[in-house]
Structure formats: structure tokens, C-alpha cells
């Protein structure tokens, strides 16, 4: 055993010289890195493989789980091969081990020592069960100097015994390639399929482990470019999902005089952001633009690149991958997930979607079942740029409506979140660019498809109304589910602030189907959030109103009377309901016949939704009552109504964290003036 392990240094260095002819620095760096990893890995591998000497059943289980994260130290493999000779190990385990070696073969850090024991490995060939796998291993290790007449004889002898087995033929054909004079046997020019000795679950586990490892490396800042190891499986089914490797252009165009004087730096050669900044003016794009998606440094460069062709190339690649893998055949594999996640993080990084992914989504939404890769698809969807109001219905609303009403509650929530993000991005985009230029953009019309400020407003309005419709019906369908309501209120938190936060002179109120369920919700959080939203609406509207007075009439953005009326209407109802105990007051749009209310036998039905009796707050009222009058046995929450306890009670509620209510009460209810007067005031606007 010890002898086989003892290799002369010269032997080792000579063979490693052969395998590394003349590569760049990258290669040596990589080797150094591997060396480090190897030392870490070696102990554990040797430990694991030591089980071989025992050969019991745990050995098999350990082997099955032996998935290398980076490289397999050659030492470990050599030792294990040597242990094979100890006859204690059952033959099935031996086979399993050789299969394991074949599976991880490409990951073995060096092959020199394995080649040195070629003869030793060859001796296993007589073992019938091992033979196919040993042949495969030998096939991978064979060099010209390994081909000897006695080995050829041995193989031929085996062939006469076992018949023309493909594994023998393969090895013999390789021998023939090296030494045609030794193998006189005629070999058919095309031997059917190669060796198939690795186990596919292993292989896929291996790929997955390696892939996730690669991910970790590339996400770290220091190693912006990871040199891609040649993937083990040569023939991939989902070829479109692999990011191409970063490589420089082969066919250099004979550039014009100017550019040829500048020495170009291929993007591959850059390793840091500082370096990129230094060479910014002479960076050469890679041969395949798709490779940029894999590295954050390249994305940084892409963000500055304004070259149309480059972006077009990237979009062709991306569009093709998306179409081929997701539109023409459905994908659910780990690779597909990884691909979309990569794409999402790239888009997130650039804060912009790719037009090819938009074009893909418009088609994909029509065939999507709403569950396939849902988070990823919704993520991509939220990056869609503004669509003109004339197209938005066909491209977005029609497919989404269908999906919304035929999918689960969780899809509904997911879609609400997605549409909220979409709106946020549109508005953010508007606020950024509106600040840069002046607002007078409607004059610009040199292309027919140009969007104007009013066009943009139309699109936003369409989106908000669309979500309003979905939300009203969704709440009905799902019985006012609290979770769904929460996502809907998220959306309206964005909508209510369009003017103040994003400078877009547009205010759209929520439909009754959203307002009333939120107001009458059984959980205090929803009511609190609605109060906050109403408070923000008020600020936005007052601010818009005052600005409208200042600006020139023709330029003025006009917020329709209807919006003010609707707001006032909601406000009156809300104050009447929570504060004034006049819930079913006339001229609200909740018309319930008097007789019906009497029939319901609810005592004092008009007070049922005030701060004390509202189902969301009764618990607080009772709690407050106990704290206020600890001795009292019978709880009469109506006693809170008195002036003093009432203000204490409000204070108590605000201390519970209901800041929305606090803002709402402070801004909309003045306790000196009656609420009604105040509202008269706002209605006059």
C-alpha cells in the first residue's frame, strides 16, 4: 500500500507539467485556491473513505452522501482504490465506489497519482462485476505509455470470454488510436453510445451542490468574475438556461484608425470595480452578451453602456432563453428557478426590466396557470414599465383578471403585492425624471407612441382602477380575508400618496368595495391602516388644492370634483361611524331600511361601530374599562363615552400603536368644532 502511494517528486511534476501547458495567471491562481481547498477537504474525504476498510453497510450510506462541494483530493481516491484490494469489502460496494469515482472524476484535483497506479487499477479488470466500470475508469486515464501488448492481450482474452462488450470495445478502440500496431482487431467506425456508468441522482445532486457553491462565490464582491469550470454533464437538456461564459471576441473587426490606436481591454480581464473605472473608455464587450448577467461587475458596466447593439444582443439571448424554456416547453426544474432568480437579481440591480422579458411576459401571462414559478414570474411582472392606457387592458388586465379569479387566495395576495410594486416603480420612475426636466413634456410629439404626462397619468389611473375592481371582487370572494385586505391596503398606501410623495397630480380614491370592508373589519390593524390612508388622502388633496390655486389655469392639473366629493363622503361616513355614533345617517351610500334595522333587534344599532363598540376595538374598550375602574364588577363600556374617559380612552388607543387612528383623529376631527361643521368646510372646496 505504502509503495503505491510513494511517488517520486519528479514523476509528479513532470505529469503536472504536461497537463498545464501554458496558461494564464488565472490558472495558477485557481490551482493555488484549489490547493487550499484541497487541504481542508482532504481530511474529511480520507475519513469518509476510511469506512472502506470496514466495508460494512454504513460504508455504503456514507458513500452515497459523499457529494464534493469543490474538488476531490486525489490522495483520498488513491487510498480508497488501494483499500479495494482488501477482500473484506463486498463486491457491490466496490462497484458503487468505482461508480462514485466515475461520477466525480472531473472533480478530482489531479490525475497523476491515479495514472501512476494504472497497472494496479488494470488488475481489477478480471473481476467480472467490476469490469465495465474499471474499463471506463481506465478509458479516462489511459495515455500512450499505458498501452502495452500484454494489456491488449488481456483485453482480447476477456473479450473472447465475455463477448464483444461495448466497454471492452471502447477501451480497445482507444488503445488502437494510440498504438494501431498493437491492436489489429477491426473496430466498427461507430460504436453505439459511450459509457453510461454514473448514477444520475448523484450526478444531479453533484451539479446542484456545485452550482450553489458557484453562486456563493459570484455573489461575493471580491470575485466578480468566476471562471466557469467546465460543467460535467456535457449534454444538457435545458441548454438555453446556462449563462454563456464570459469570453472575449474571436473575430476582431478591423477597426477604424481611431479605435485601433486604443488598446481594448476585454471585460473578462477586469477583476475589480476600480479597475473597471480606470479602463472605462476602452472596455471590450464579451463575445456573448448573455454572460454579463452572471456578474455584478459586468452589470455595472452594462448600466453605463449606451450601445444599442450590445443591449439588443443581450435581449435576443434573454428573450430566446425565456421563450424556448418557458413558453414553448414548461419548466419547473431547479435550473429554471435559478435562471429566473438570476434574472430577477440582475433587474433588481439595474432597477429596470429588460424589454425582452417584458415581451415574454405579455405572451406568457396568457398561458400561465398562476402557480408555475409564481414568485419569480410575479417578480418579473412588477418590473414591467409603463404601458400606454390603450394597450394596458389587452396586455395586462385581461390575462391577469382571468388568473385572479381562478386562483387561490395566496395568488390574489401575491398579485396585489406585485401590482403594488409595479405602481411604486412607475411612480418612482416618474418622480426621478420629472425632477430632471420641467414638466412641459406634452409638446414633445415626434414619435407617435410618445407618452405625455397625461398619457402617463392615464396609465396609472387605469392600473389603480383595475386593482380597485380586482380588490372589491376579491374581498367578496374571499370573505374579506384579513391577509388579502392587508395586501390591498398596502396598495392604497401607495395610491393615497401619489401627489406628495411622487409629485404626480393624480388622486384616486378606493372603491366602496375596499373602503367599507376595511372600515368594518374585525381586526384593528386594518381599521388603523385605513385611517392612516384617509389621513394621507386628506394631506394630498389639500396640498393639491392649494397648488392648483397658485398655478396658471391652462397648466393646472385638475383633480376632479368627483374625487373630492368621494373623499368627503368617505370621511363623513367614517367620522359618523367611529366618532359620532350616527352610522346609518341619511345620505350615505349604505342604505338599510329602518324596518330591517329594527327587525335585527340590535340595540342602539347606530352606535355599533363607534370606537367602543366596533368589533375591532371592543376588546380594547373592555380592557380600558377594567384599567380605568378596576373595582367595578359590571362592565358598562358606555361609561367611556363621557368626556374625560373618552379622551383617556383615545390616548390609551393611540398608545397601543394605532398611529393611523391618531393621525386621522388629529387631522380630521377637531373636538371643539363639531365634526359635521368641519366637514362642511371641506366639502365647500
Amino acid at each position: 500500500m505504502a509503495e503505491t502511494l510513494c511517488l517520486s517528486d519528479s514523476d509528479r511534476s513532470s505529469s503536472s507539467d504536461q497537463s498545464v501547458p501554458s496558461r494564464s495567471n488565472n490558472r495558477s491562481l485557481r490551482i493555488a485556491e484549489k490547493e487550499r481547498k484541497k487541504n481542508e477537504a482532504e481530511d474529511s474525504f480520507v475519513l469518509a473513505l476510511r469506512y472502506f476498510s470496514e466495508g460494512s453497510s454504513p460504508c455504503v450510506r456514507v458513500l452515497k452522501c459523499l457529494i464534493p462541494a469543490s474538488v476531490v483530493p486525489q490522495q483520498a481516491v488513491v487510498r480508497a482504490v488501494v483499500w479495494l484490494n482488501v477482500s473484506k469489502i463486498p463486491i457491490s460496494t466496490q462497484v458503487l465506489f468505482i461508480k462514485w469515482v466515475l461520477t466525480v472524476f472531473d472533480l478530482i484535483d489531479a490525475k497523476d497519482q491515479l495514472r501512476a497506479i494504472y497497472g494496479f487499477i488494470f488488475s481489477f479488470i478480471t473481476e467480472e462485476n467490476l469490469c465495465p466500470y474499471i474499463c471506463h475508469l481506465l478509458y479516462l486515464l489511459t495515455r500512450k505509455e499505458n498501452v502495452h501488448l500484454y494489456r491488449v492481450r488481456k483485453l482480447l482474452e476477456l473479450q473472447s470470454k465475455l463477448g464483444r462488450q461495448p466497454f471492452l470495445m471502447h477501451l480497445l478502440s482507444l488503445y488502437k488510436v494510440f498504438c494501431p500496431e498493437l491492436v489489429t482487431l477491426s473496430i466498427p467506425s461507430r460504436i453505439r453510445s459511450g459509457f453510461k456508468n454514473y448514477i444520475s441522482p448523484w450526478k444531479s445532486a453533484l451539479v446542484a451542490v456545485q452550482k450553489s457553491n458557484g453562486q456563493q462565490v459570484s455573489s461575493s464582491i471580491s470575485a466578480a468574475f468566476t471562471i466557469k469550470e467546465k460543467s460535467i454533464s456535457r449534454k444538457r437538456k435545458h441548454c438555453h438556461l446556462d449563462l454563456p461564459a464570459l469570453s472575449s471576441v474571436l473575430n476582431k473587426e478591423p477597426q477604424s484608425e481611431q479605435t485601433s490606436r486604443r488598446k481594448m481591454v476585454p471585460l473578462v480581464h477586469l477583476s475589480s470595480f476600480a479597475q473597471m473605472l480606470k479602463d472605462m473608455h476602452r472596455i471590450e464587450l464579451p463575445a456573448q452578451m448573455g454572460s454579463l448577467l452572471g456578474s455584478s461587475l459586468a452589470l455595472q458596466y452594462l448600466d453605463c453602456v449606451q450601445e444599442e447593439s450590445a443591449l439588443l444582443r443581450l435581449n435576443f439571448w434573454l428573450g430566446c432563453a425565456l421563450h424556448e424554456e418557458f413558453l414553448f416547453c414548461r419548466q419547473t426544474s431547479e435550473e429554471a428557478l435559478q435562471f429566473l432568480n438570476n434574472l430577477l437579481s440582475a433587474q433588481h440591480f439595474l432597477q429596470e426590466g429588460f424589454s425582452s422579458s417584458d415581451a415574454f411576459l405579455y405572451k406568457f401571462l396568457n398561458v400561465w396557470d398562476g402557480s408555475l414559478l409564481r414568485p419569480q414570474i410575479l417578480g418579473l411582472l412588477s418590473n414591467i414599465p409603463v404601458i400606454p392606457s390603450t394597450q394596458i387592458g389587452r396586455l395586462l388586465f385581461e390575462p391577469l383578471t382571468q388568473l385572479f379569479f381562478t386562483s387561490s387566495m395566496f395568488f390574489k395576495c401575491g398579485l396585489m403585492e406585485c401590482l403594488n410594486n409595479m405602481l411604486l416603480k412607475w411612480l418612482t420612475w416618474h418622480s426621478v425624471y420629472a425632477l430632471e426636466d420641467d414638466l412641459d413634456i406634452s409638446l414633445n410629439s415626434h414619435t407617435s407612441i410618445n407618452i405625455t404626462l397625461s398619457g402617463f397619468k392615464d396609465s396609472v389611473m387605469e392600473l389603480v382602477h383595475f386593482v380597485g375592481r380586482l380588490a372589491s371582487l376579491g374581498l367578496q370572494l374571499e370573505g374579506c380575508n384579513t391577509l388579502l385586505l392587508s395586501f390591498i391596503l398596502d396598495f392604497y398606501e401607495t395610491v393615497c400618496d401619489t401627489f406628495l410623495k411622487f409629485g404626480l397630480p393624480l388622486v384616486v380614491m378606493p372603491p366602496p368595495g375596499v373602503f367599507y370592508p376595511a372600515l368594518l373589519a374585525t381586526d384593528p390593524v386594518s381599521v388603523d391602516r385605513l385611517a392612516y390612508i384617509m389621513h394621507r388622502y386628506k394631506l394630498n388633496l389639500t396640498s393639491a388644492k392649494s397648488q392648483e390655486k397658485q398655478t396658471e389655469p391652462q397648466q393646472a392639473f385638475h383633480i376632479s370634483r368627483h374625487t373630492f366629493r368621494q373623499f368627503n363622503h368617505y370621511l363623513v361616513f367614517m367620522v359618523n361611524c367611529l366618532w359620532n355614533c350616527r352610522m346609518f345617517h341619511a345620505n350615505t351610500d349604505m342604505h338599510v331600511r329602518e324596518e330591517l334595522l329594527h327587525k335585527s333587534n340590535v340595540p342602539q344599532y347606530w352606535t355599533r361601530f363607534d370606537f367602543i363598540h366596533h368589533p375591532a376595538f371592543t376588546g380594547y374598550a373592555v380592557d380600558f374599562h377594567q384599567k380605568c375602574w378596576p373595582g367595578k364588577k359590571d362592565v358598562d363600556v358606555n361609561s367611556i363615552k363621557q368626556s374625560k374617559p373618552w379622551s383617556w380612552y383615545l390616548e390609551y388607543l393611540f398608545n397601543q400603536g394605532f398611529d393611523g387612528l391618531k393621525d386621522f383623529v388629529h387631522s380630521s376631527i377637531s373636538r371643539q368644532v363639531t365634526a359635521g361643521d368641519k366637514l362642511q368646510d371641506s366639502q365647500q372646496r
Partner: protein, 363 residues
């Protein structure tokens, strides 16, 4: 190896590049960009979906032998081709074909060697690749010239003196490509959207991968859909007066258990008569020039064939899918295989297929 001079080849450079650059981030341009005519990160999202033409000119038989090298033509019409679509090639130059040939040959050898743990010297000279231009196979001036790729090789264990023979061939073409689409591409791109190949799958793979690496393009398989197959049936039948189609044969699969395959062969004269009966202005169409065929007529023709079948066998073919159409002029399969048997109708066939390929473009 190709005797053709390379001077006359052209890669169409169209001056009318659509203005969709956004150099600076101004509000104005961003608004536009956001809309899709241009975005910083991409161009032209398909806000309006492209569709297959609903009407096309009747296939005028063309004597291509005058325009196209007969050797090339013979190669095109002899075989059945597996089709793919290709996104536009970046910085492809028709003048560099010789250098491309060398690179591709080297690439094939390199790929071959990856399978072996050793260097095999014999491999080095075992592949000869030639890329050449098939001149004359264009219809409009936006079309780029067709490129033919041939790979010659010797079997691995062949004798020294054995001659190399053609093992794989393929072509890239664009016939009557949509001018709007072609003109919208920047001049660095050459659009040859239709790719046909014949030969071992691994060579197709290697060739595609070389094109992908060199011209930053993508390949995808091109199936011939139901509508296109119907078009082929009609277009070929329409040619019967000029060149005898022998038969109109259609292969249908019916989703029954066990699956049912139906071969439906129609007598050429009957097909011709039926076709003429569904043609609007069948009499006026004799004037040749104005002859354009509408999708309506095509579906009408197929509907008539189906109802005829139903009368005889009580089986509605509408329930099944059309898998294959063949006549003496050629055959088309839904799996994306095409055979053009008559050189006079090559252009018409390639026009339809180019259209199919352009429809598959992601943007």
C-alpha cells in the same frame, strides 16, 4: 474550396435605422423609452403581436437555375432539412467566410477532443468545413444572402487514402423577410432567421454552438404549425397547373386510444378542382399577376377536404392535428422537417418558412 468569388456578396446595410437610441436620460426620452419604442436595456417589446400573413401571393414558379449555382440548388432540393430559427447574427460578414470555415473546423476538432482523455493527432485534419454564399436566393434587397455550410470528414478508423465525404450540411437564409423587421435592426446585425441542417445531431449541435459563441445569436427549433401546414397544402395544390403534384397527401393524428394515424391522399386533379372551387374569383385569377391567396381560402380548402373525409368515414378530422403535408413538390412535417423536391418552388417555400422563423424572434 468554393470557386465563387467573394467580392459580390453583400450584407445588407440599411441606412434607415429606426431612431430608438436613448443616449441621455431625459424625461422626454425616458417617457418614450418606458413605452417601448426604446428602452435603455432593450428595444421594441412586442406590444403589437406579429402574426402570420393572412394573405400571400400565389407561388410563382421561378426558374432558379438561372440565378442560383445549380450545384447549390441540387444540394438544397435533394434532401430533407431539419429547421431551426436563429436570432440575428452580430457582426457576421459575408466577406469573411473563408476565415469562418477555418475557425469552425478548428472548433469541431476541439469539441471532438473534449470527449477523449487524450490528444488524438489524427483528428486535426479529419474535418474540412466550407462556408459559401448561395447567390441569387434572395427576393428583396433587405434579404441577406444565403450561406451554405458543408462539413466533410473521414470516418475515424478509415484507411489513409479514403476520400473525405460530406457528413453534414446546413444553410442560413432569409427570403422575403419582413422589411419592417429587417430595417429596424442596427447595421451590425445580419438577419438570416431560417436555419436548415442535415447530418448527425452532434455536428448540428457543434455548429450551432460555434455560431452562438461567434455571432452572439441563439437557435431554437422551428416547428411548422397547423396553419403553416395548411398553407403548404394550398400553395402546392395551387401549383398543380404548372407542375404536376402527383398527389396531395396529408397525415393526421387523431387523439383516440389507441392513437389513430390517418393518411389522407387526394388525387391531384380532384385537389386542383376543389381548390379552384374555393378560390374567390377563380376565373379572374387566371390573369396570373393579381393572384393572391387569402387565409380564408386556405381554411376553406382544408374544411372541404375534411368534410369530404367525414362523408365517407364519419370521422371529423378537425378533432385531430395535421402532422404532415406532402406532394411531389415537397413535404413539410410539423416536427420542423422540410423537403423541397422541385427547384421551381423553393422560393415560395422558403418565403413561408422565413415568415415562420421571424415570428419566433423573441423581440
Amino acid at each position: 474550396m468554393d470557386p465563387l468569388s467573394e467580392s459580390g456578396m453583400r450584407t445588407p446595410h440599411n441606412g434607415a435605422v429606426v431612431q430608438r437610441r436613448s443616449k441621455t436620460r431625459s424625461y422626454r426620452q425616458s417617457y418614450r423609452s418606458c413605452l417601448g419604442t426604446a428602452s435603455r436595456l432593450g428595444v421594441t417589446p412586442a406590444l403589437t403581436a406579429r402574426r402570420l400573413n393572412a394573405s400571400r401571393r400565389a407561388a410563382k414558379p421561378q426558374n432558379l437555375a438561372d440565378k442560383v449555382n445549380p450545384e447549390h440548388l441540387a444540394l438544397l432540393v435533394k434532401a430533407e432539412w431539419q429547421l431551426s430559427y436563429v436570432t440575428p447574427l452580430y457582426q457576421f460578414r459575408h466577406t469573411q467566410l473563408r476565415s469562418y470555415s477555418r475557425q469552425l473546423a478548428a472548433f469541431i476538432v476541439a469539441e471532438k477532443q473534449q470527449g477523449l482523455a487524450v490528444e488524438v493527432s489524427e483528428l486535426h485534419n479529419s474535418y474540412r468545413v466550407s462556408l459559401s454564399v448561395v447567390q441569387g436566393l434572395t427576393e428583396s434587397e433587405d434579404d441577406a444572402e444565403t450561406v451554405l455550410i458543408q462539413i466533410h470528414s473521414k470516418p475515424m478508423f478509415a484507411r489513409q487514402d479514403e476520400p473525405q465525404r460530406s457528413v453534414w450540411s446546413g444553410w442560413l437564409t432569409c427570403v422575403h423577410g419582413s422589411p419592417e423587421y429587417l430595417r429596424s435592426l442596427p447595421k451590425d446585425f445580419t438577419c438570416l432567421p431560417l436555419f436548415g441542417s442535415r447530418g448527425p445531431e452532434y455536428l448540428s449541435r457543434v455548429v450551432k454552438s460555434w455560431f452562438q459563441k461567434t455571432f452572439d445569436c441563439c437557435f431554437g427549433s422551428l416547428e411548422i404549425n397547423h396553419t403553416s401546414l395548411q398553407w403548404f397544402a394550398a400553395l402546392w395544390t395551387d401549383c398543380h397547373s404548372q407542375s404536376h403534384i402527383q398527389h396531395l397527401r396529408m397525415l393526421w393524428t387523431i387523439p383516440a386510444a389507441p392513437p389513430l394515424q390517418i393518411t389522407y391522399t387526394v388525387d391531384p386533379q380532384d385537389a386542383w378542382d376543389l381548390w379552384n372551387s374555393v378560390r374567390k374569383e377563380a376565373t379572374a385569377a387566371v390573369t396570373e399577376d393579381a393572384a393572391s391567396i387569402d387565409l380564408e381560402e386556405v381554411t376553406g380548402f382544408l374544411q372541404a377536404l375534411k368534410s369530404h373525409f367525414y362523408r365517407h368515414f364519419r370521422l371529423d378530422l378537425s378533432a385531430g392535428t395535421l402532422q404532415q403535408v406532402s406532394t411531389a413538390l415537397g413535404s413539410a412535417k410539423s416536427s420542423g422537417r422540410i423537403k423541397m423536391s422541385n427547384s421551381r418552388h423553393v422560393i415560395a417555400t422558403l418565403t413561408l418558412l422565413t415568415e415562420c422563423a421571424l415570428l419566433r424572434m423573441p423581440i
